[in-house]
């Protein structure tokens, strides 16, 4: 009898303490900008959210170097948070097979006025990454648009007051910017590309009018006249015009480090919004000498744009509470602060109207490039395999083969097409 009484007391205390403690949700985000500032901001935001809703948010900052493996494990059934800052919705949701990983929250779409309702607040291209077929996975919160960075002071040296506007101008400006010492050794390169990053190729292919996949995302479309033109152009920058460092495929090559060291003049579609703070922190001597510009035009003016989103994960204990947290995070005023601290550009239209972004020398160029942005994701889980930035990644191998001269442009494209079709045939 005494034991039973104790049991009742224990249960009562447990229930009461749960009531007093309220709901707790867990949230993961990757590291952005200065981690100390990010931690301070998250502490303040979670405290403010708790004051307003009574919901406690326990957050964890996941280092980008571990993010992929962590989300892959979660999508395979491993333990994860209730909601998170995520990416690659197509791949991770396919891995999770509707049981693990990113959760389809389409049933909640009505309360935001459907996709059209979201489009009133978000830039439409950013929403492409969170809709997979008729499924909706979350709220985009950052845009990673790649713009052209260039040395404005060197442009003046060669009698130019602006960045190149077309591929032809890029070659012309690059030739004038490239400097050699009396022995012929290059001491300054006109143009820089990152030959070991598949994202490098996105903008060039699209600018040439090409596509990676057919409209149904079932077959490769890379081996086309546009694909050849784009890849040949990159090869020519290195080997024909000799205005781009040939070691851009070298594993030790660091594009922005070389730019900051004064070795490269133009980075076409090469850097994102965070580049400004990188310059401020690590190369302040370049402030006033570096400028940003909208992407180049060939057949089209277009540039690569990545994105990240806030989503809910399978296994969430209180979906409504998690959704409230994500709604809170994507309020315009919260996002203005979030974007400033994380040094990213927001996909929310109102956020970019804030003077901090709209009047800044660098963000201005990023915002001006947004109309030319294009999502890097294709709606197939095979996309990750195609663009993985390591050996065996299909675009990675293609760039390495062509830029090193190991294979001709035609051979490299044909191999990439064959491998892409092999991978795509499985889905």
């Amino acid at each position: 009898m005494k034991k039973l009484t104790w049991l009742w007391v224990f249960l009562l205390v447990f229930v009461l303490s749960s009531e007093v403690m309220g709901t707790t949700i867990t949230f993961w985000t990757m590291n952005y900008g200065d981690t100390a500032s990010q931690t301070k901001m998250l502490d303040e935001l979670t405290a403010d959210f708790k004051n307003k809703t009574g919901i406690e948010v326990k957050y964890e900052i996941v280092n980008w170097s571990q993010a992929f493996n962590k989300y892959m494990l979660i999508s395979g059934g491993g333990p994860g948070p209730d909601c998170a800052d995520m990416y690659w919705a197509y791949t991770f949701s396919t891995m999770g097979q509707g049981k693990y990983g990113p959760m389809d929250i389409s049933s909640e779409l009505k309360r935001y006025g459907g996709r059209r309702g979201l489009e009133k607040r978000w830039y439409a291209p950013s929403l492409q990454d969170v809709f997979f077929g008729d499924k909706w996975y979350g709220f985009p919160w950052r845009i990673d648009i790649r713009i052209t960075a260039y040395r404005a002071d060197w442009m003046k040296e060669i009698g130019m007051s602006r960045a190149p506007n077309t591929w032809n101008e890029l070659v012309l400006f690059g030739q004038k910017l490239t400097k050699r010492d009396p022995s012929g050794k290059v001491i300054r390169w006109g143009v820089g590309i990152d030959g070991k990053n598949p994202q490098t190729f996105y903008s060039w292919l699209w600018q040439a009018g090409g596509e990676f996949l057919t409209p149904d995302n079932k077959k490769s479309a890379i081996n086309s006249p546009a694909g050849k033109e784009a890849l040949q152009f990159l090869v020519d920058l290195i080997h024909k015009y000799k205005i781009c460092p040939p070691d851009c495929i070298d594993p030790g090559f660091n594009l922005t480090a070389a730019f900051k060291a004064g070795l490269i003049g133009i980075l076409p579609s090469g850097v994102g919004a965070g580049f400004k703070r990188e310059i401020e922190r690590t190369a302040p001597q370049l402030l006033g000498k570096v400028a940003g510009a909208i992407p180049l035009k060939n057949k089209k003016r277009i540039t690569f744009q990545g994105a990240g989103y806030f989503g809910i994960l399978h296994g969430v204990k209180d979906k409504e509470a998690a959704l409230k947290w994500l709604e809170y995070l994507t309020q315009d005023d919260v996002q203005i602060r979030y974007s400033k601290v994380s040094e990213t550009l927001s996909p929310l239209k109102n956020v970019n109207k804030d003077p901090y972004f709209a009047e800044d020398w660098w963000y201005k160029a990023c915002i001006a490039s947004l109309p030319y942005g294009r999502t890097s994701q294709h709606q197939t889980p095979a996309w990750t395999q195609i663009t993985n930035p390591e050996p065996t990644g299909i675009i990675y191998d293609m760039l390495q083969d062509a830029l090193s001269g190991r294979k001709s442009v035609e051979e490299a494209l044909a191999t990439a097409e064959k491998r892409m079709n092999e991978v795509l045939s499985k889905y």
Binding site: M72, T94, M95, G184, K185, D250, G252, E390, P391, R406
Partner: protein, 296 residues
């Protein structure tokens, strides 16, 4: 007597259970997966029998990785053993600051591999490399060299990125050999050298007939262990070049990682892993034989 035996079983049980969970289970699971077409992003997981193995054996990238693994292993073990032996002989001689030099020798072994790898990546960077500065100032090269990227500079079939990564692997692994050889050298009785001196033996003859034979047992174990470690090596090849450029430094360890986590083909990666395990097992058996011969 019986209770003593049970006590012994209880004492070794934690170690046995740990080995079963941490080593044997993953191995069995890996072998099982190698018979399935298991990819992380494909819902079905059909049994394919030996198909993964047949595909691996038809895959030119596997053969390239295997070739690199064997070449790296042989060259790395050979040169690091040679260097380790020379350093051990030097440290065993009457050198000033011997204690300091011994500590210095340990450095490559105690620094975390990620620190070593990234330091070397910068040291070998085309634009910032001090080696390029030295070579240029000596007029030995016309322009800066991309040590980790230039596939056109080669010695026979061995490319410059291969040599660069190999150098780092030798530099980080000779210490283990040097320490082992040094320990073995200190067990050789001084009387043997004194007797040889009386018999009129010169330095080379002392090394040939006393030092070298005394080092063979330790050397055999060290070389076998090194071969096992080298066959499954991953760190420096991945951290410095990710196996590139164009697979020039891709070894089985990095190839398995890429296959499993870049292309998500876990079944295929498991098949490569099983093949790598089989190769390592050969040296494992040799090692066990050597150890048993020593102890019995």
């Amino acid at each position: 007597m019986k209770s003593e035996r049970y006590f012994a079983y209880i004492m070794v049980a934690p170690a046995v259970v740990s080995i079963l969970i941490l080593s044997l289970y993953p191995i069995i699971q890996g072998i099982r997966l190698s018979f399935f077409d298991y990819t992380l992003i494909n819902p079905s997981k059909p049994f394919v029998g030996p198909e993964n193995y047949l595909n691996v054996l038809r895959d030119p990238r596997f053969w390239k990785a295997l070739y690199n693994t064997v070449a790296f292993s042989i060259l790395s073990v050979f040169f690091s053993t040679l260097l380790g032996l020379v350093v051990a002989l030097l440290l065993n001689s009457k050198l000033p600051l011997k204690g300091f030099l011994r500590s210095l020798t340990l450095l490559p072994w105690v620094i975390p591999s990620i620190v070593i790898a990234y330091t070397w990546v910068w040291l070998l960077n085309r634009e910032f490399s001090p080696f390029n500065e030295i070579l240029l100032s000596l007029n030995l090269i016309k322009g800066p060299i991309s040590f980790l990227g230039d596939l056109n500079i080669r010695i026979g079939p061995v490319t410059l990125p291969f040599i660069s990564v190999l150098t780092v692997r030798i530099w980080t692994s000779y210490t283990f050999k040097a320490i082992n050889f040094l320990a073995a050298l200190q067990t050789i009785p001084e009387e043997l050298y004194e007797a040889a001196t009386i018999d009129g033996a010169n330095s080379w003859q002392k090394f040939r007939y006393i030092t070298f034979p005394s080092l063979i047992p330790v050397g055999a174990v060290v070389v076998t262990l090194s071969l096992i470690w080298n066959i499954s090596h991953f760190d420096y090849n991945y951290l410095m070049t990710k196996g590139g450029p164009s697979d020039a430094t891709n070894v089985l360890g990095t190839f398995i990682y890429q296959t499993a986590f870049s292309t998500f083909k876990l079944g295929y990666a498991s098949a490569i892993g099983v093949l790598m395990l089989s190769i390592s097992a050969i040296f494992g058996v040799i090692y066990m034989g050597l150890v048993l011969r020593e102890t019995l």
